[in-house]
Point group: C2
Chain length 461, copies 2
């Protein structure tokens, strides 16, 4: 049995939560790679819509109004259900109370629309005609294509080649919305050509695809780049998840002891976590926040906090992040959305300051968890979301031992209906785990920069 909690249109949040204004330690600034000087919002204008640049570096306003036209499109699929997963609890035999926020009900099947819609909106408002982006598994690319179409923008998407081949349905979804989709690395950009010259059979990575999309935005008139995770403004938009969940948990008469989400760049994690985390800052609550990342791409659990590029070619600003190095090439796991070398600036600072934890999950553990979830709760989760479920199951099993009725909330970031090829591989026994040696990690980090060598100002704000 499930129990579902929904908000009426009137109860829906009208503002996003900007955690940057309330963090005990303000995140370090992004730096100009040439001068190593902190960047201003204006410095980012050539690449992103201007309002998004201002949101990116807004350390002042804890609450940002959601524009009415964005709210209108949110209402196509929001409020998403908060669900008490009684059947999963029963199957585990846990006294824990497990809740999940079901972002899979979006028409694109994941949480990504929450930021695609405002990003397309601000571009449109500022007279932009073309948008470009990268995508891994295709959830972000599909969502950006959708949002671009809704606002009458042309979209060009660079999709990581391995995902383009593994998940052809997402390419067709993007095309249905009229987007132009190119497998990355491609010969259509200098960044792509450089990489293919060095490594002809390069399978692609988010870092590479970002380089290509940024290059296209810079060289195309009236074209802006958009990003599906990592950046602070993306996470800002995703807080709609946690803000709804906070109200819905109130309807359920509970408050989470633990909040869990899978972790690629940090936007779905931040989206569900930050609205609850603010109550930790002032000491009201002691909720634990757990990011679940793949063992094969362990930036939080085995990476280092350093200044690094967000992309492979080094086109982006230097960002202070937990990173595996921007040249890191992640294994071809099926959770394509988690195959990124770095963590967002905000979550990196929060991890450093001990406000959150991270665990790593192997590919096989993630699918085991996803299948148990499907067979109990009836929803087939995206391979990415399976990581959050696996971490939830670990915590719920601990409660069996301790007898504690902990309240666990996780984000079901998307469904897996378009990822069934991955499940198929799991069933046929073709999936394996990937081990990463310490040497590999050290080697890839060589191109990143020690934080203290660049920025020794006190961070208190």
């Amino acid at each position: 049995m499930q129990k579902k909690y929904l908000l009426s249109e009137d109860e829906m949040p009208r503002q996003w939560y900007n955690i940057q204004a309330e963090m005990p330690t303000r995140p370090l600034p992004p730096l100009n790679p040439a001068t190593k000087e902190p960047l201003s919002a204006e410095d980012l204008y050539p690449v992103f819509a201007e309002e998004l640049c201002r949101q990116e570096l807004n350390y002042k306003d804890a609450w940002i109004d959601i524009p009415p036209k964005v709210l209108e499109l949110y209402k196509y699929y929001r409020c998403t259900p908060l669900v008490r997963a009684y059947a999963l609890e029963k199957a585990l035999g846990t006294p824990a109370h497990i809740y999940f926020k079901n972002e899979s009900v979006s028409p694109m099947g994941s949480h990504k629309l929450n930021s695609a819609i405002p990003q397309a909106y601000y571009c449109k408002e500022e007279g932009v005609t073309n948008v470009t982006t990268e995508t891994g598994a295709g959830q972000w690319g599909a969502s950006l294509s959708y949002a671009a179409r809704m606002f009458g923008l042309e979209a060009a998407v660079y999709q990581v080649k391995i995902s383009y081949e593994q998940k052809p349905y997402r390419k067709s979804i993007m095309q249905t919305f009229g987007a132009q989709v190119t497998p990355s690395p491609s010969m259509s950009t200098r960044a792509g050509k450089d990489i293919l010259t060095k490594i002809p059979n390069h399978q692609g990575s988010l870092g590479t695809a970002i380089s290509e999309a940024v290059e296209l935005a810079r060289t195309t008139p009236n074209c802006k780049y958009t990003l599906g995770s990592v950046l602070s403004h993306v996470t800002l938009h995703q807080t709609i998840i946690g803000l709804e969940a906070e109200k819905q948990m109130e309807l359920a008469g509970e408050y989470p002891d633990i909040v869990i989400a899978c972790f690629g760049g940090g936007s779905n994690f931040g989206g569900i976590s930050f609205p609850f985390m603010r109550h930790n800052f002032c000491g009201d609550k002691k909720t634990r926040f757990i990011a679940a990342e793949p063992s094969s791409c362990p930036k939080l659990t085995r990476g280092s906090f350093r200044y690094d590029f967000g992309d492979e070619a080094g086109y982006t600003p230097l960002l202070p992040m937990f990173t595996l190095g921007h040249k890191f090439r992640p294994a071809n796991i099926h959770a394509g959305g988690l195959r990124y070398h770095g963590a967002g600036v905000i979550v990196s600072q929060l991890l450093k300051d001990g406000f959150m934890e991270a665990v790593d999950i192997t590919q096989l553990e993630s699918f085991d968890a996803g299948i148990l979830f499907a067979q109990t709760e009836g929803i087939i989760p995206a391979p990415e979301s399976c990581h959050a479920i696996a971490a939830t199951i670990r915590e719920a099993k601990k409660c069996i031992e301790t007898g504690e009725e902990k309240v666990i909330l996780f984000n079901l970031s998307g469904h897996g209906l378009i990822d069934m090829g991955s499940y198929d591989k799991y069933f046929s026994g073709d999936l394996r785990n990937y081990e990463l040696s310490d040497d590999e990690i050290v080697e890839n980090l060589q191109d990143s920069i020690d934080v203290d060598s660049l920025h020794s100002d006190p961070q208190d704000c």
Copy 2:
């Protein structure tokens, strides 16, 4: 802009509507193929759960209580939204008011769960341990697999071979729920062997897969057969769609002038139509009901009203239906759920009596319509549902000419996220329409039986 209408849990219907108790002309009875005598519910017990057999031939009770455990699983995804499609209206420039009932929000992506859940429930209640069924595109098989798992039943599914190959993701969905999936025709049944002996490269059809599933149910202890459309009890369960829609249209302050659904066996069509059609019977309303079938499988628009088998091998009772003949092999169109030779008994009688209409839609028109819908309303429709959208667009365009603000309601029976391979073929120009000659139709009908030769009793009830 969309406007969405939802019902609270309290407002959800607690009964299904059994149109058989109120039709002006009672449908002709199913017949025993050997004796040509009308069948009783008891005659069907060896194949179906007993309660479903009684529902099949219930001409007495207009309202059937939905069991509480079925309601509980309905609540996982219901009430589904009723949506005013302002953006589609605007793109067409029509004065018509277009509404759609969004059944795609079910965790399996289509309306099929509405009957899978009660069918699995009644089997479980009666001590059945195994269920079997056929599936075309896989929407029904996925739903039955889901429902079987929720009630702890083992499921075996025969999937039409062409769909098994075209839509591999649905096979994986069934396997995720623990079902055993076999491409049909197979060598595992006598029916399958017979067909493969005659036609070694037979691509499969729903009629063939039904034969195999029925044979398995008959030869396996404690195993019952289940069906995803055509039969009266399936359509009964689907009336949850129309009953919700009726209340939701009231919230919108409108009543439909036209109700439209795609047509395979008739269950989603009957599901949305019958609760409105009852107001036509007593003369209160004059709503038009339009079934949209594929031009390549035109049982309603070009078939004949005859007694015919529901399956290729002739295992089922003889049913009075609009049919193309049970040996008819439909073209490999991508709307796999509509590739069935016959129409349900109830809809066949209603069509004969002039209470509903039918139109045929070519494959290319259906995809054109689906893409316009996706680009305006943001939901990629299943290839089956595209037929309903195409018929809706035709009617909405007529309103441009007449200036009438007609209220059109159609059923979005499912999303197309797992059918993107079909969209891909459309984009690459590989899809074509299929023409059916009059001779082909006449030839296939030879194995069916003239109604008057078998049953000349007056049908008035």
